[in-house]
């Protein structure tokens, strides 16, 4: 006869050859390979301190006839640790979902059982086809102060474990990040970037349950983010970008009244508009371009280029010697 046997990692396992007597002559195989007699105690197979690699099919044959007397599939694994359970509503006010996973694998099949109670009322959490470790619940009531309690039990052949979370309706509301974030330069505006986005498609009714947004942006060359909170609308114009610097921009969303902020959206990159450099063929034109370039290359407010004493010229095109050399070299690159 053949069956499956589950054993814990590190356990000592004794396998009997079916109904054969202890002193019967037998041969054991593991996955078709003979097992050395040193592992036998009479006709019993002894496996000490089993590990995962010893999972497999074990067969016992009568000594002389090689009749198969016993067969088992040994699966070495672990009892489940306390599962990790999270519940969230990304489609308020329709409902919420709970998802779970084990912190460490068991290496053997597990069964999960979830129960949801709202006050004293049992609710059904419908399992999702994909992913398998998730189920969803439709809200039957809104605006309730009564808490929900979700209990998850995980069971396998070697043991069971469970966890529970308790929360109220508002606390788990967390939208998905905004979608289709787009950032574009604004023509003829070297310090502006126009950012737009859309409500997450999973949020069912943004008109009745409006979202507010948080936008963060920084030039790639700096670590510090600028933040802007926006109570309505799905666009914003950044007006203090550093000219010519590439920016990284992200947006997050939150219900206007309840819950927590979404994760940040996918990051988008954009560089403010800069004036096109003119093509040069003569030295005079190089000089001309140098002057024109400085008018569009605006230093960040806190950046110091040179000492006032080294400044040549005046007005909007005042430039110091060192900056002039730098800019000239920069301009030459565009020829």
């Amino acid at each position: 006869d053949s069956h499956t046997q589950y054993e814990r990692v590190g356990a000592d396992v004794t396998m009997k050859c079916g109904s054969m007597e202890w002193d019967a002559a037998v041969t054991w195989t593991a996955n078709g390979t003979d097992i050395d007699e040193s592992h036998l105690n009479g006709s019993y197979l002894i496996l000490k301190n089993v590990d995962l690699s010893q999972s497999g099919q074990y067969s016992c044959y009568e000594g002389s006839s090689w009749h198969l007397k016993y067969q088992t599939y040994l699966k070495v694994g672990m009892p489940p640790k306390e599962p990790v359970l999270t519940c969230r509503s990304n489609n308020y006010p329709k409902g919420f979902y709970c998802s779970w996973h084990l912190p460490t694998p068991t290496y053997i099949p597990n069964t999960f059982n979830i129960s949801v109670i709202h006050g004293t009322k049992d609710m059904v959490c419908e399992k999702d086809a994909v992913p398998k470790n998730r189920c969803h619940i439709r809200y039957l009531q809104l605006f309730s102060t009564v808490k929900y309690k979700v209990t998850l039990t995980v069971t396998n052949a070697l043991g069971k474990n469970y966890t529970a979370v308790t929360f109220d309706e508002f606390a788990i509301v967390k939208p998905d990040p905004p979608e289709s974030v787009v950032a574009k330069p604004v023509p003829n505006n070297p310090r502006r970037l126009e950012v737009s986005w859309q409500n997450p498609s999973s949020w069912p009714d943004p008109e009745s349950f409006p979202l507010k947004f948080f936008l963060r942006y920084r030039p790639l060359i700096l670590d510090q983010w600028q933040h802007v909170e926006l109570s309505d609308g799905t666009s914003h114009t950044i007006t203090d970008a550093y000219a010519g610097k590439e920016y990284i921009i992200q947006v997050a969303a939150k219900d206007n009244d309840i819950g927590t902020w979404s994760d940040w959206s996918v990051a988008v990159h954009a560089t403010p508009w800069t004036e096109e450099p003119k093509h040069l063929t003569t030295e005079a034109q190089i000089t001309e371009t140098t002057s024109a370039s400085t008018s569009s290359f605006m230093a960040p407010p806190t950046t110091k280029i040179c000492d006032k004493g080294a400044v040549v010229g005046s007005g909007a095109v005042a430039v110091c010697w060192t900056a002039g050399l730098v800019v000239a070299a920069y301009s030459v690159l565009f020829i």
Binding site: L140, Q141, L142, F143, S144, T145, S208, F209
Partner: protein, 195 residues
């Protein structure tokens, strides 16, 4: 066309709804602050479960999205009238218990009571706009509740404030539903219709 559907009425409704939403938002923020202060000053556990208390209108509602505009307004009005009486009672009890020792809590309670009264009036304005009769308040009021111990009074107060915070969120949602234009005419939906 009924007066309630005239363009000026629609504008007035939208204006009242917008102001009501802002009032509800401010009220909720103040109630949440008051809740924190109340829990601390009354020596309560913020996570304590409080059973539904008789006379405290529950914000919880089934099939919220199927409610008509009239239902929303009437339920809101009944709730805030009840909260007006409950908060007045809490104020009296708080003065009896703590007297002048905690004038700050008393002032915060009184401020929220004022907002609740204002919101109730705001709801009456919306009902008047729809030419709906405003339900009268019971002349004699509900029968006086049985005398509670001080601890029971504190727990009831916790329940009142928690439920009021929920109502403030619900009211903002209700008013947004009311302010939605009708898909057919572009005007706000008649309150007798399902939104």
């Amino acid at each position: 066309m009924a007066a309630a559907d005239s363009p000026s009425a629609a504008l007035r409704r939208r204006d009242l709804c917008s102001r009501g939403i802002r009032l509800a938002g401010k009220m909720r923020a103040d109630v949440v602050d008051l809740l924190d202060a109340y829990v601390e000053r009354q020596g309560l556990d913020a996570s304590a479960s409080v059973a539904a208390v008789e006379g405290v209108p529950l914000a919880a509602v089934e099939r919220w999205d199927e409610q008509t505009g009239t239902q929303r307004l009437l339920e809101n009005l009944a709730a805030y009238r009840a909260f007006r009486a409950l908060l007045a009672q809490m104020l009296d009890e708080q003065r009896e218990q703590l007297g002048e020792a905690d004038a700050g809590l008393g002032r915060a309670l009184a401020a929220v009571l004022l907002q609740v009264s204002a919101f109730a009036y705001h709801l009456e304005e919306l009902l008047r706009l729809e030419s709906r009769g405003i339900p009268g308040e019971e002349e004699d009021g509900p029968p006086p509740p049985p005398r509670l111990s001080i601890f029971e009074q504190k727990l009831r107060g916790l329940g009142v404030l928690r439920e009021l915070a929920q109502w403030a969120v619900r009211s903002a949602r209700d008013l947004r539903q009311l302010a939605k234009p009708s898909p057919a005419t572009g005007a706000a939906p008649g309150l007798a219709e399902s939104p």
